[in-house]
């Protein structure tokens, strides 16, 4: 498993079961990455499944157009948000689409609820990029007006308590910046090695990859953004992805958004997987050493043998 899935496996499997086997009562609270909580329940009747999501940064997402994206994806299924949650969809098992394909598509769409909610700012930024690109093509680089040359505003999503994603569209690229905090010393080192690999990968082989930069100080794009911590202590790392026009074509957009969203989880997953790998090698090593120790027995020394009365035997030469 190199990549993490984008969809929530549990929602997917619950819905699959229910679609196939008919109604049954459900009441489950499910967590997802980044402090997202789902609640799947059947509050009224067993055939009506209510799926609610709570995202820490939902107000921010709404500000960046999440409502429109969610309406596009879930249009007829949206219901008033459940108390304590930010957004709810409801599926009626008695009014399912007829053919299997449409059902599978519905399951897939609902299990991507978190991804779609978080996708809004990205989509908005990508749209803005296209707009700016069209604008910029009218000018040569020198005479472009202020707004076009500078690019759009920075969209900040504080998706975790201490970490945030910043997205900024310009006329020739979209910059996505993650701020990361490592609480663990070891994790920080692992993280550094990993990120260096990302930076190097492009240089070495994969020319088409987005450019990745890693630094401990807030990048220039983030200057003057409220909430950006410039303490200089080096606790916070900034990972910058530069998405070029070829990543932003309409065919690729959805894929790019999914990938970049799971970046942090992917990153942490792999740090943990490498630790597991190192641990298994350590265990091997220990087992080998133990084996050596077990085999090492002191050789039996030649001892002087005595009779009961204390006399000794002498070997006659």
């Amino acid at each position: 498993m190199l990549l993490l899935d984008y969809q929530n496996v549990l929602i997917e499997s619950i819905l699959k079961d229910r679609f196939a086997q008919g109604p049954g009562s459900i009441d489950q609270v499910v967590s997802d990455f980044d402090g997202v909580t789902f609640h799947i329940s059947t509050p009224e009747t067993k055939s009506k499944i209510l799926i609610s999501i709570s995202v820490k940064c939902f107000p921010e997402l709404v500000q960046y157009g999440a409502q429109a994206v969610l309406e596009r994806e879930y249009g007829p299924f949206i219901v008033a948000p459940e108390n304590g949650y930010d957004f709810s969809v409801q599926v009626d098992l008695e009014a399912l689409p007829e053919d299997q394909e449409a059902q599978d598509d519905l399951i897939r769409r609902i299990s991507l609820l978190k991804r779609n909610a978080m996708a809004a700012p990205f989509e908005q930024a990508f749209d803005e990029f296209q707009h700016l690109q069209a604008e910029a093509s009218k000018y040569t680089s020198e005479q472009a007006p202020q707004g076009v040359r500078e690019g759009g505003e920075v969209r900040a999503i504080h998706y975790r308590e201490e970490e945030a994603i910043y997205i900024k569209a310009s006329h020739d690229r979209v910059t996505v910046i993650f701020s990361t905090v490592f609480r663990e010393e070891t994790d920080r080192i692992f993280g550094k090695v990993f990120l260096q690999e990302f930076v190097d990968a492009r240089r070495r082989a994969i020319q088409n990859a987005p450019q990745v930069l890693f630094q401990n100080k807030p990048p220039l794009e983030l200057q003057g953004i409220p909430g950006v911590n410039d303490s200089g202590s080096g606790d916070i790392g900034y990972i910058t992805f530069v998405l070029f026009p070829r990543h932003l074509t309409n065919q690729r957009r959805a894929e790019v958004i999914s990938h970049i969203q799971t970046f942090r989880d992917y990153f942490h997953y792999h740090i943990k997987a490498s630790k597991a790998f190192i641990h298994s090698r350590m265990r091997r090593r220990t087992a080998d050493f133990l084996q050596v120790l077990r085999r090492a027995r002191p050789e039996t020394e030649e001892k002087e043998r005595k009779t009961a009365s204390g006399r000794t035997f002498k070997v006659q030469g």
Partner: protein, 451 residues
């Protein structure tokens, strides 16, 4: 509510792993504790042979690191090429993958595989960031030492290993390791028969491989009195299968036997009466089970006396086994009688069932009746001996509840959602301060003093 993430409850058993979040009434995922990796199947010990992975291979090949040899030669991402759970079994059916079972007899046998199993459970299935969540894991009670003396008790080192993985690999926020039997007791609090939420009682835990009778007093397992019965779900399935074979049914596969066991079996109050009842009214007693094959063909299998005979092997083991002859009620009675005298009353009053093989209809009622007979007989005898003294009587109660199947998991979910749960956990900071030995002791969750 978003301020506190729900605790993750993981109950990794020999056969199945139950994963989910505290506060839910059923585990989110239940799948086999299996992991399939590239390479040949089995590894040391052979899959399912029941032997632990002994180093009977050349020493430099095995050791604690498990079967994946030449680990150091792997420079790519081979270590991530594995599947767990149902996917593991599917992958192992194809070429290239071999399936391994990292837990044997309730104890973790291969830490490498277990670490990867956990990592996949957390990231792929539960989808949580371990830093944000508290974890509740389970461990078996001091193990199967009664049947197989060769197996050691669950040593505290296992806890330490678990803690090392949980804290150092996954940096989980906090950890609590609970004993399955105690969680099973907590799960019984949902039953309406339970008035006081005490952690004193006798747990009868019957899974696929073995049945344990575990006395628990105030949340502490009385290790010296634990008894195990080598009769459990798998034996019932085998017994059904042998009955089907004797009759020459058209399909007597293990799978069919298992379906019949799960769908039709129940516990009868009296075998002789039940036989005559079957003879009197055959039409609604005898059933037909339809087996449909993958190619669409189907056959009918008659289901007869095995409906009540199969679970009967708990109460009359002689009909199935020739070397183990003590009925389950007698074992329970012995277990309680060997426990300290001051807790016996509580143990009789709160006999809790847990595990899939206790789900038969009327299992609890029959057990309660049989144990009560034993107790009453003993009281009568001692009354006669004392010459005129009257006993106040003894209350025997077997608790049947709805969460029996995943009892330990549900108990974990129940305790994990309590507000004080976090204060019982050891946190990452405490671990860093003290080291793995910290997990040797845990404050008793849900015990006296807490709500």
């Amino acid at each position: 509510m978003a301020s506190q993430t729900p605790a993750v409850v993981m109950d990794n058993g020999t056969g199945y792993s139950k994963l989910g979040f505290a506060g839910n009434d059923s585990p989110s995922f239940v799948f086999p504790t299996a992991i399939s990796t590239k390479g040949p199947a089995g590894g040391a010990g052979g899959s399912g042979s029941g032997r632990p992975a002994v180093a009977n291979k050349p020493s430099f090949l095995t050791g604690g690191a498990g079967p994946s040899s030449h680990l150091s030669a792997k420079r790519g991402t081979e270590d991530l090429d594995f599947f767990i759970g149902d996917e593991a079994l599917t992958a192992a059916a194809g070429p290239g993958y071999g399936v391994h079972y990292p837990i044997r007899h309730g104890q973790i046998d291969n830490w490498d595989l277990m670490e990867r199993f956990w990592s996949n459970s957390i990231f792929k299935y539960l989808r949580v960031e371990p830093e944000d969540h508290y974890f509740l894991l389970t461990e078996p009670v001091s193990n199967i030492h009664r049947i197989r003396k060769a197996f050691p008790l669950n040593p505290p080192e296992n806890r330490e290993n678990t803690a090392e993985i949980m804290f150092e690999s996954f940096n989980c926020a906090g950890l609590y390791i609970a004993v399955q039997a105690v969680l099973a007791l907590a799960a019984s609090w949902t039953s309406s028969k339970v008035q006081d939420r005490s952690l004193t009682g006798t747990v009868i835990d019957s899974g696929a491989g073995v049945t344990h009778v575990i006395p628990v007093a105030e949340g502490y397992v009385i290790g010296s009195s634990i008894k195990s019965v080598p009769i459990a779900g798998r034996d019932i399935t085998n017994f059904v299968q042998s009955l089907l074979r004797d009759r020459g049914e058209p399909d007597s596969s293990l799978h069919t036997a298992e379906r019949i066991k799960e769908e039709y079996c129940y516990v009868s109050p009296d075998i002789v009466k039940e036989f005559s009842r079957f003879d009197r009214e055959p039409e609604d007693r005898f059933k037909k089970h339809t087996v449909t094959y993958w190619n669409g063909r189907s056959v009918q299998v008659d289901v007869g006396y095995e409906r009540f005979l199969a679970p009967e092997i708990f109460f009359n083991p002689e009909i199935y086994s020739s070397d183990f002859l003590t009925p389950l009620p007698n074992i329970v009675d012995t277990v309680i009688q060997t426990s300290p005298i001051d807790v016996r009353r509580g143990l009789y009053k709160n006999i809790v069932l847990s595990g899939g093989s206790t789900l038969y209809k009327d299992f609890g009622r029959r057990l309660q009746r049989d144990i009560r007979h034993l107790v009453d007989a003993r009281i009568k005898a001692s009354e006669a001996r004392s010459g005129g003294a009257k006993s106040g009587g003894l209350d025997v109660q077997v608790i049947t509840h709805k969460r029996q199947r995943h009892g330990p998991w549900f108990g974990g979910s129940l305790l994990g959602q309590t507000p004080e749960f976090r204060s019982y956990c050891h946190t990452k900071a405490e671990y860093d301060e003290i080291g793995p030995s910290i997990v040797r002791r845990f404050a008793l969750l849900g015990g006296p003093g807490s709500t």
